[in-house]
């Protein structure tokens, strides 16, 4: 640590840190010497990266392979309208260096996988996990355990936030509990919706991500007591908070990285003939409508989505398609659609399995594709 020095400009910049007695110049030097990897530059990653950059973490790594989408701007405060369609990692780097030119920022514009996770994580001191799916959560956790890195964890869903510090090196030289000690196995796919399906209130990642940044700073500087062995919960809807104890589980064994899709129950799609979903394009649908073909159009989205935009289809939400199966029977084609095509494919599979209907067609790309390619006056969301 002794080789790290703060310039006059840095001393001025970080004056409000340096005047905190227990933080002082030594704490600031530790931040400057630190290499922190932020995985996911989205809802959580935005405040984490902004605050860590502002606070003077010397070297920030960003893992994100995605591009900025308009619907990200409701909460991903790193980005502006001009960034839509552009690389998150590259634009995040630009924004962070504009905020604090004293930093080094490395971007990893890749999807983190079992093949590259250990190599990337090994280059950093601390990891902040702000990813959005269970496969990556377990992958990041296991790689941190194998590489002996502290994993500052945060997760959000609708109004609910969780924060913890996993695999923290305690004073006795032993590592604290990790994510698998808390949750040995992930939920089966479909049981817990992700943010895209379930939604998230825009300010929540700002609150929870700021707490995550705070824990990174505490871990790096050694100031305060990190949230290791504890899980913080916030219910933003009721403003109830709880801090629960997390224990090490003697049955937790992490010996190497595995196939996390398989572990999370996500199997490669094996389409047999009976299970195949037939598709029509939005152009074909337009043709059927223009020619007044005797097709039936069914929308399996939720009523609130139907209110935003609809194609005058009959509304039968996915959860009730089997109860309403009779309504899918029709002399000609029945075209089923949802927002982008995934739920309608699921509905068709369910109906094909239960009723052996062979006149069901999925609208490829859903109402979003229709809005994009046929009727641009339709409201998108």
């Amino acid at each position: 640590m002794s080789e790290v020095n703060l310039s006059a400009a840095e001393m001025a910049r970080y004056a409000r840190h340096i005047t905190i007695p227990e933080f002082n110049v030594e704490g600031q030097k530790k931040l400057k010497a630190a290499k922190v990897l932020v995985i996911g530059a989205g809802g959580l990653g935005s405040p984490v990266l902004l605050y860590l950059a502002a606070a003077g973490i010397g070297h920030l790594g960003i893992v994100d392979f995605d591009v900025v989408d308009e619907s990200n701007l409701q909460r991903q405060v790193l980005y502006t309208v001009e960034d839509i369609g552009k690389s998150k990692a590259e634009n995040a780097k630009k924004r962070l260096l504009a905020l604090n030119p004293h930093l080094e920022v490395t971007i990893h514009n890749v999807r983190i996988t079992s093949d590259n996770a250990r190599e990337i994580i090994s280059q950093y001191d601390v990891v902040a996990d702000g990813t959005d799916n269970f496969q990556t959560r377990y992958l990041v956790n296991d790689a941190c355990v194998l590489e002996n890195k502290t994993n500052v964890y945060a997760s959000i869903f609708r109004f609910e936030g969780q924060v913890s510090v996993f695999n923290y090196l305690n004073e006795d030289g032993k590592r604290g509990p990790n994510y698998r000690d808390m949750f040995p196995e992930p939920p089966p796919p479909g049981l817990v919706p992700n943010c895209a399906e379930g939604g998230v209130i825009g300010v929540l990642p700002g609150i929870i991500g700021s707490m995550q940044a705070l824990e990174v700073i505490k871990v790096v500087s050694g100031v305060g007591t990190p949230l290791a062995g504890r899980l913080f919960l916030l219910d933003a809807a009721t403003f109830e908070t709880r801090t629960l104890k997390v224990y090490k589980n003697p049955n937790t064994k992490i010996e190497g990285l595995i196939d996390y899709d398989l572990f999370c129950g996500i199997h490669p799609v094996k389409e047999d003939e009976a299970n195949k979903v037939k598709e029509v394009s939005v152009q074909e649908l337009k043709g059927f409508i223009d020619q007044k073909n005797d097709i039936k159009l069914i929308d399996v989205r939720e009523p609130f989505e139907y209110e935003i935009a609809n194609l005058n289809a009959e509304l039968i939400p996915l959860s009730s398609v089997l109860d309403a199966a009779e309504r899918f029977k029709h002399s000609d084609k029945v075209i089923v659609h949802c927002k982008s095509g995934a739920r309608s494919a699921k509905a068709i599979k369910l109906l094909q399995e239960e009723l052996e209907l062979d006149n069901l067609y999925n609208l490829k790309g859903g109402i979003l594709a229709y809005a994009r390619e046929i009727d641009t006056s339709l409201q998108t969301y």
């Binding site: 809802g43 990813t131 997760s155 969780q162 040995p184 939920p187 629960l244 224990y247």
Partner: protein
Amino acid sequence: MAKIIIPTPLRKFTDNQSTFDTTGVTVKEAVAELITTHGDLAKHLLDDDQKIRSFIRIYLGEDDINALDKEDTAVAENDIISIVPAIAGGSI
């Protein structure tokens, strides 16, 4: 009466109620009472052997019931039971 706090992802099975008052004197009884009232919760909380699913933790106060007497953990008047599910959102 003891209270069970329902996490956001499971509230759609409890008519959006965030808490449930229970007279159960063990965690097992309290969870059974909750499931009797809100039947759709059963498959989300319990596995085929009627055990709490491995991606859900049950807490009494700030303690994991696995560090106490598991599902037989005694529940006293005014205790708070938390159901804590794994959630994964953050980036999207």
